[in-house]
Symmetry: C2
Subunit: 412 residues, 2 copies
Amino acid sequence: MSELKGACIFGQSGGPTSVINASAYGVIDTALKNPNITRVLGAEHGIKGVLNDRLFDMGQEDPKELELLKNTPSSALGSCRYKMADPDVDETDYKRILEIFKKYDVRYFFYNGGNDSMDTCNKISKYMQKVGYECRVMGVPKTIDNDLYGTDHCPGFGSAAKYIATSCMEVYQDARVYDTGMVCVMEIMGRHAGWLAGAAAVATAYGSGPDLVYLPEVDFDMDQFLADVERVYKEKGNCFVAVSEGIHYADGSFVSEAKTSATDGFGHAQLGGLEVFLTEIVKARLGVKVRGIELSLLQRCGAHLASETDIEEACMAGKAAVENAVNGITDKMVGFERDIQDGRYVCRTKLLNLTDVANTEKKVPREWINAEGNNVERPFVDYVLPLIQGEPVLPREDSLPRFARLKKVLAK
Amino acid sequence: MSELKGACIFGQSGGPTSVINASAYGVIDTALKNPNITRVLGAEHGIKGVLNDRLFDMGQEDPKELELLKNTPSSALGSCRYKMADPDVDETDYKRILEIFKKYDVRYFFYNGGNDSMDTCNKISKYMQKVGYECRVMGVPKTIDNDLYGTDHCPGFGSAAKYIATSCMEVYQDARVYDTGMVCVMEIMGRHAGWLAGAAAVATAYGSGPDLVYLPEVDFDMDQFLADVERVYKEKGNCFVAVSEGIHYADGSFVSEAKTSATDGFGHAQLGGLEVFLTEIVKARLGVKVRGIELSLLQRCGAHLASETDIEEACMAGKAAVENAVNGITDKMVGFERDIQDGRYVCRTKLLNLTDVANTEKKVPREWINAEGNNVERPFVDYVLPLIQGEPVLPREDSLPRFARLKKVLAK
């Protein structure tokens, strides 16, 4: 292991979560205290901030405000969705990044995000290796979608799952108060993997959750869906359905995008989300009262319902990235390993090759979904439960959240 | 004051809230302990449970489960939306109610709801007086809409307002993470009064809330709305709008129902909520990225974000109804009076005539709304703040809500 001194850059990328700033705190706080890291720079809007030379000097922030990041949802430094070109095709961005790295003597680069962000991280890592610029590059995982390869779970998922399960339990109470029945359809995020929609079933395991849960891991069949809803409605007088936004027909087309097809029975372009479409179909075919609810951004920024386990692990992932890098590791993403010790859930960090992680998606195992494809099985619930445990002590001001207020002083 | 012994019936009516069960607890617990009340009956689905002779014997419930009602959202006994006929036109229901009252020797009737429910309560009260059946009838207020006449505020509003303000603060963080701008439109409940939509502005007072707030108290002008949004977007690069579901044009037609008009630029019937419609118009006219969020049922059942002040006051209202009735009062609704003592907010109960309360709506004063009609003024925020204070200690099971589980044993 060679000692390497220099500045570090930290960036946040992709869709935010309730705890991505907890990882930011893990990275920034650990880096600020490490003697080998001479300066901690926060990139505005992820890699775009590097390209645009918009870097904040994190050392100028009030430590108390930095600590508030642990309970501040969304990406405090700003995020981006920026696809890096293949460096063999277009080197422009990479040359610019190298220029900035040299300008600030950046020797550590930490990037916090999901699949696409790990692709960015991987490309930068490989480029720096190729041109022989010594810089340790580490990925910090983040995604409510929980679909990163090689890690037991991802920071951000536990809190979103807890938000979804709790909201389902509450909506369940509300959606059956009248003696007139209703079908309630809740749309949950997750374009390609059904981890989040499956979390709705955790509510059912505690007595107040959806009757039916549809994940993108199973091809969606509209007739079967309507038959399922009708059966439950006739049996219970109500039906509560959770659907992943990513459900798709057998031909791969998203149900949300196939809305103009004959299937909808209206024959015109339809606006609004998947839940709007499904509730309208249910209403038209079954003639029952319907209510659609889309959890939208709420599920990924609901920090007031965050899982303390998730916050601590998100922070730990950031810390591990810095510690490993300082110890000579590069070109890796921090991942999680689950263990059970004396019957208790324990989470440890591990390291994954960026190349393996970039752009690979982890789906819900088929055996955790029931044979009918309209709910999840108990092992799924058991997998999720440890991740949603613990209530954070939330900083408040007049009973409202007190989020971090950063100065964001541009580095000179 | 004459002493009156007999059974009591308690019923829940109208749309549920996060704390309507706290009022139920206040009524049931106080009634169970009062020697003049021989039996406490809970009506299934409000007045329908009386008409159908579906009454639960609340004395058979486990006291610990009853106490969990304080943190259980929605109407635990079931609710109804049932409009009672004018007794001068059709006496059928009233005769049936009298029959049930006599069957169980009911001498106390407590009804928990909003405007329409107070109308039911008032009609029953007047009918019992007319036929000379001695029964003390008391209304217990409830509505997230906060539009009951004569009371400073209504149980249920504070918790919904807190849910809305907190969610706005979180969404504000999320909806501006990218360097590409976005217009976010949040649809909030409130058909005729803008108390709930106004609560979104409390978030703004704490640094992270909507830029524009539209209430039904001011006629909606689509051109002005688009000009407002465009101005804010150009100035800030983002725009966050909160709208009440009840916004309407100058001719009184709801914007949500006028969606097929030429205004929408599409010329076809549109599905989905008001936010879907407004975001589509913004997208079409201003060509910017949009996101619509409807808080839907979440805002009225989000007990995990309830205001402790609201829970305590809801409970107090139920208790006051029973105590006053036992002390000889009848034909009243319990209301709230706000006082400031040594600079601290204090809430006391008062009594209002059911006739005055029934079917009268209290709107947001025009002077609490700004001249432009696109936001609320500071006095509105100061009015709301005391009502959202305090965090309840939430009963949990594996970090998920532990709601009351009632046996609901039918009375013989």
